[in-house]
């Protein structure tokens, strides 16, 4: 157990160190997130009341596009120089490789969200009157679900010829519950309505996260077969 923990830490550190030194994925995600925000601002008139109403939806479309960009790169470094073969030859449980990737993808996306969110409030001139803890819980569970399914499907798409084109097509249909729950939950949290409706969406996200973390962890070793 202790050994598995050490291995997991080493694997996560490998991803983080690679990203901190090259910054190619994070910078792309951040710039893209900012750009999508600007596109929405042009498309929707930022101060209009109708835009206020769809603000949570804009947030999650932005996060999922930025996240998609990151996921496409998640297994790209592993292909160069046969790094994945190296990982597979190491005496590791393949589930740990999956868990480490989920956690590193989660951290990247969380960082992008942490930087984009204040920018969104500023650029859309959105007044804050929400419940911070509820918003954090929704962001946490939503991002975890995105990372858990996204990492699995990115590994799956990496096995195909059409890889990067295929990923959004297979990812978004499976992510429908996360997107719905995250948008609805964010809307409630931003309105400061922490009632049973919000709890229901949080519960749905938690159930989704548990089902798909377990299922993806069980199926992940099959994707790595040589």
């Amino acid at each position: 157990m202790r050994q598995a923990w050490e291995q997991l830490r080493a694997l996560i550190w490998k991803d983080l160190a690679l990203e901190l030194r090259t910054k190619d994925m994070l910078s792309a995600m951040l710039i893209f997130s900012f750009l999508v925000m600007v596109v929405f601002a042009f498309a929707l008139r930022p101060e209009a009341a109708t835009t206020r109403a769809v603000f949570p939806g804009i947030l999650w479309v932005d996060f999922s596009f930025a996240g998609l960009l990151g996921l496409n790169r998640a297994f790209a470094h592993e292909r160069a120089n046969d790094c994945l073969t190296g990982l597979l030859l190491a005496p590791l449980d393949p589930v740990l490789i999956y868990a480490a990737k989920v956690i590193s993808n989660f951290l990247f996306l969380a960082l992008v969200e942490a930087i984009s969110l204040p920018l969104f409030f500023a650029f859309f001139n959105y007044p804050w009157s929400g419940a911070a803890a509820a918003l954090l819980a929704i962001l946490f569970l939503g991002t975890l679900g995105f990372a858990a399914v996204g990492t699995f499907l990115a590994a799956l798409a990496a096995n195909t010829r059409t890889g990067e084109v295929l990923l959004p097509l297979i990812l978004f249909p499976v992510l429908v519950p996360v997107l719905l729950a995250a948008v609805q939950g964010t809307a409630l949290a931003l309105a400061g309505q922490t009632g049973p409706a919000l709890a229901a969406w949080l519960r749905l996200l938690a159930v989704y996260d548990i089902i798909f973390c377990v299922l993806a962890a069980l199926l992940f070793p099959y994707l790595l077969e040589p």
């Binding site: 699995f152 799956l156 096995n159 519950p177 994707l223």
Partner: protein, 231 residues
């Protein structure tokens, strides 16, 4: 099973499907009474439900075959999953085409984001994705494994999608009721026959698809054998 037996089985299921389909058409147009308000338009309901029910059956078979493939690693389970997914997508497309025709005259709108409709649409996207995953891998064993993994994930998603869409619609007013409800007994009989007719069609198409895949594999083996012999 010998090739002759398979051939005979396929012919039989073809006849069963054809006869049942004719019986279903008779039941739909002559046996079942005309609906009072929608009149003839309501007849599409039998086709709609027949394809919908069997689309779900087809996707359930994809799920089972995917599980069995990962357990047993026999290519016949992969064949079953692949063919069943194709028919499932075909049937779901029919559901999504017949649905709006009904909806336009019953609810005066082509589409409504009602939970069952929305879930069917997402289902269609998931299994289109499944077919795209299959099309993206050349090597056979790898394709089978990858597709099986996606077949399981995709199927597990369906109930969660349904639940989330239902809650999403609950936060909005529900304009249209579920319909159904009191069905005339003769209508119910026609519906059941129609569902079975489409199940027979599904089984027939399944056997045709499996035969095509087996023939493709045989042609490939023959080509490889000859190439080795003459090179």
């Amino acid at each position: 099973m010998s090739a002759g037996k398979v051939h005979a089985g396929r012919r039989l299921s073809g006849w069963v499907a054809a006869v049942l389909m004719l019986v279903a058409l008779y039941a739909i147009f002559f046996y079942a009474p005309l609906e009072q308000t929608m009149r003839e338009v309501q007849k599409i309901f039998y086709i709609h439900v027949g394809t919908a029910w069997n689309a779900f059956l087809a996707f359930f078979i994809v799920f089972l075959a995917s599980l069995l493939y990962l357990r047993k690693r026999e290519e016949r389970w992969d064949d079953l999953a692949a063919v069943s997914a194709e028919i499932g997508v075909l049937f779901t497309t029919m559901v999504l085409l017949t649905g709006p025709i009904w909806a336009k005259s019953a609810w005066n709108t082509w589409w409504t984001w009602e939970p069952r409709l929305t879930t069917t649409l997402v289902l269609w996207f998931i299994y289109l994705a499944y077919l795209l995953v299959r099309a993206g891998v050349v090597e056979e064993t790898r394709r089978a494994t990858i597709a099986a993994a996606f077949g399981i994930i995709g199927f597990a998603d369906v109930p969660v999608v349904y639940l989330s869409v239902r809650w999403w619609r609950l936060s909005h007013p529900i304009i249209f009721g579920g319909g159904g409800g009191g069905l005339h007994p003769a209508m119910l009989v026609a519906l059941i026959i129609s569902v079975f007719a489409f199940t027979a069609l599904y089984l027939y198409l399944l056997q045709m698809g499996l035969t095509v895949r087996q023939l493709e594999r045989r042609v490939r083996h023959l080509k490889e054998g000859w190439r080795e012999r003459y090179e």
